[in-house]
């Protein structure tokens, strides 16, 4: 049996890689993929605790996280398409219309 803190370490590592991707990359598609990565890290933690405690509640919450991730990807990619139609770019530095 794998000790539970190894799952938490894996979740923390994946979450941090996602944070690095969001903070440093300029391509908006890679940023959206990094957000999916962070949601996966959360799911690992939820399911690790669910398995550890013998409960199904953690798995239910993981299903809701997946639902939110799917909705977020659909809307986010819709925004990306609309953005690309207007500005012909994937670079977040060039999308500064609302920047003060």
């Amino acid at each position: 049996m794998v000790p539970i803190h190894h799952f938490l370490f894996l979740g923390a590592a994946l979450f941090t890689i996602g944070v690095i991707g969001v903070l440093t990359r300029k391509n908006i598609l890679v940023i959206l993929m990094s957000i999916e990565l962070m949601m996966n890290a959360v799911n690992i933690n939820l399911i690790a605790f669910a398995g550890h405690l013998g409960q199904t509640a953690g798995q239910i919450f993981a299903i809701f996280v997946i639902t939110v991730a799917a909705a977020e990807a659909a809307v986010g990619l819709g925004i990306v398409i609309a953005m690309f139609k207007n500005k012909e770019t994937m670079n977040i530095n060039e999308i500064d219309l609302m920047k003060w």
């Binding site: 991707g21 598609l29 799911n43 550890h52 509640a57 997946i66 909705a71 925004i79 398409i81 207007n86």
Partner: protein, 176 residues
Amino acid sequence: MSVEVVLFYIFAAVAVVSAILLITRKNVVHSAVCLAATLLSVAGIFLTLHAEFLAGVQVIVYVGGILVLFVFVIMLISVEKTIHERQFGRGWMIGLIAALLLVSELGFVVWRGRDSLVLANPAAPAESPLGLTGNSQLVGEALYTNYLLPFEIASILLLVAIVGAVALAKRKTQAE
């Protein structure tokens, strides 16, 4: 060491390495392939935790749905142009330092509290009121009894997301 333990470490290594490749590759298509590897190994980790239903959902929804959506969007935009641009923003050093602080903090907290996470008496598998066994049955039973309202709210959320995505993608641009 049992097979489960070995598989967990293999899947964890694949997940972390392909996640690092995801955020460092210049080509978005390569990033998408790395994301697929990460998602599939996370599904494998769910299997080692005996969450078989979630592993199936992970493969179907993430790899079969979200990732295909990403690939479609990549095909719609011009990848060639974006490869030659600068890939990292000016503040990448600050972001990296902040993220390393975050991971060291998370790692420290988990390492300090690792003994408190171990249960004195290992939990027995969840008891089903209907006498069901098996992961899918237990998840389905909980989803349609105790968590019925959140389930319906999630379905409303998906409906709103579909309508929103269609409305966003269909909007006329200034050029048209």
